[in-house]
């Protein structure tokens, strides 16, 4: 009865918190709606050769890849902007435990989103009944990359929310930083650095091609940077500073 709440229970609570607010609910509806839209447009308007499962899936994952980080940001930053941290940390005073629960909940939601995209893409591919070669082929490596793409997008969002503890700046920075980095990349001397650090660039092949060793190296460096730096800053702020 007075045992510490287990991580499984805390994860369930965090999943519930992602969908039980008005903004959270509509954000999930938006992800689902846009995924359907992406799939429909691909099979209706796409080139005949593009109506393969592999290609439809790649497009189906984009809404989740773009919007789930926002879900992740809000999952953390709303604790501060809506001031629910005063309740959450009263019930779970070991603050990093609550963040671990949020990361687990985010991962579960990302996997659900990937599964939904897979199902919708399969349905659309079947209904479109195209005759492109390799209609149903999906290399296992690519499926793995798809999962990495969606899950890491969510984790990066949670990191930004945690580092900034404020919704609007976190969302703006999350979308503006890659653009700023890309601009820097146009400077010749910085091009090499940006290739390894800009998530938008380094992770671009994740959903489209089975990545080469070099591409994996660039992707992993960018991911380590984009997940590691905000999460480290965020955890440091969380444990060192007063809450509320």
């Amino acid at each position: 009865m007075t045992a510490r709440p287990g991580l499984a229970r805390l994860t369930k609570v965090e999943l519930r918190k992602m969908v039980d607010t008005r903004s959270g609910f509509w954000l999930q509806v938006a992800v689902l709606g846009l995924t359907v839209l992406a799939v429909v447009i691909t099979v209706l308007a796409g080139h005949e050769d593009d109506k393969t499962f592999r290609h439809v899936l790649s497009n189906a994952l984009q809404p989740a890849g773009i919007l789930l980080p926002v879900v992740g940001i809000l999952l953390v930053s709303s604790e501060w902007s809506q001031r629910t941290a005063l309740i959450s940390f009263a019930l779970v005073p070991q603050r990093p435990r609550l963040i671990v629960a949020k990361l687990l909940a985010g991962t579960v939601l990302a996997l659900v989103a990937t599964a939904v995209a897979l199902a919708l893409a399969a349905l659309a591919t079947a209904l479109a009944a195209g005759n492109a070669p390799h209609l149903w082929s999906l290399p296992l490596g690519l499926l793995g990359q798809d999962i990495v793409y969606v899950v890491t997008a969510m984790v990066i969002g949670i990191g930004f929310g945690l580092a900034l503890q404020s919704s609007a700046p976190a969302i703006v920075l999350y979308f503006a930083l890659p653009v700023a980095l890309a601009a820097l990349g146009s400077i010749h001397a910085l091009k090499g650095v940006v290739e390894w650090t800009n998530s938008a660039e380094a992770l671009e092949p994740l959903t489209t091609t089975v990545m080469s060793g070099h591409e994996w190296a660039q992707g992993l460096v960018a991911l380590a940077l984009w997940m590691g730096v905000p999460l480290t800053i965020g955890m440091w702020r969380l444990t060192r500073r007063d809450v509320g």
């Binding site: 007075t2 709440p5 959270g24 940390f89």
Partner: protein
């Protein structure tokens, strides 16, 4: 049981909580009284592990709050009634707290009834709640885990007189069953109506502490005369410390007998001579409020 021992917190070099020591025993309702910015909120947040003291220590139930494995089942906390997600329904807000601490969700409905939030209110988003409704939701949230200790920051803020009476009954009942209650307020009459012990804080320091009776007996003597100037001279001549009281007359730091003798020696006819009681407490509190009026909250 709640303990604060030499608790100190500095913000930017200024001590907002300065060497604060007090204890709340089971079976009592302690009112933590002080003007806005006196350090009440910071003290309570240190007790609940939200802020780290710069010196001293705070404890609940014999240990630190953060060491409690499932704090919601031992200590009910309401640190800010407006700290709820505006887009969440009232019932849902309680349900996620219940789930976090492993309490059956059906207790949520019992509590909604207990705090007087009906079915329609429970279905509303918290954004649409009045402050009084948020306070009731916050009290319900604090009570979900059937705790032994309640820590409530400004719980009466926004409640109407009926709500105050209700809270008084609720907290008194909680204390009679052996619970410990600490509640803060910046309004004397709120604490006066609910608490049986007072801890008064001003500018981060404890200025008075004790049962209401003890504090009232220490409050001095209120004396009035038609010729106020002559009375002032008579008191000064007798070497008694006196301050002008609100509403005329003087508040004297002495027993009524000594004040009567001083007036007789000065040849002043009195129209009022009595222990200051509530007036003294109000004066003490009024002095604190005016001293601190310029300083910010927390």
């Amino acid at each position: 049981m709640i303990e604060a021992e030499k608790l100190t917190k500095r913000f930017g070099g200024r001590a907002v909580v300065d060497d604060v020591t007090f204890r709340c025993e089971p079976g009592t309702v302690t009112g933590f009284l002080g003007p806005n910015g006196a350090g009440k909120t910071t003290t309570m947040r240190m007790i609940c592990g939200f802020a780290t003291p710069d010196a001293g220590r705070a404890g609940v139930l014999g240990g630190s709050y953060r060491a409690l494995p499932n704090p919601g089942r031992r200590v009910g906390v309401l640190l800010d009634a407006s700290a709820q997600h505006g887009g969440r329904r009232g019932r849902e807000a309680l349900a996620i707290s219940a789930q976090t601490m492993g309490v059956e969700e059906k207790r949520v409905d019992d509590l909604l009834g207990l705090v007087g939030l009906d079915r329609a209110a429970a279905r509303k988003r918290v954004r649409q709640y009045s402050l009084g409704m948020r306070q009731r939701l916050g009290i319900a949230n604090a009570l979900i885990g059937e705790p032994e200790v309640l820590i409530l920051d400004e719980p009466a803020n926004g409640l109407d007189p009926e709500g105050m009476r209700w809270m008084r009954g609720l907290l008194r009942d909680f204390a009679e069953r052996g619970g410990t209650v600490l509640l803060s307020s910046h309004l004397l009459h709120e604490v006066d109506a609910i608490a049986d012990r007072l801890v008064i804080i001003g500018s981060g320091k404890i200025v008075a502490e004790g049962s209401k009776e003890e504090l009232l007996s220490d409050a001095g003597t209120l004396v009035r005369a038609d010729d106020g100037e002559a009375l002032g001279r008579a008191l000064a001549a007798a070497g008694l410390e006196a301050r002008e009281a609100e509403g005329g007359g003087f508040l004297v730091d002495a027993e009524p007998r000594a004040v009567g003798v001083a007036a007789q020696e000065g040849g002043v006819a009195l129209v009022h001579l009595a222990p200051a009681g509530d007036a003294g407490l109000e004066q003490l509190f009024f002095d604190l409020t005016t001293d601190n009026a310029a300083e910010g909250d927390r």
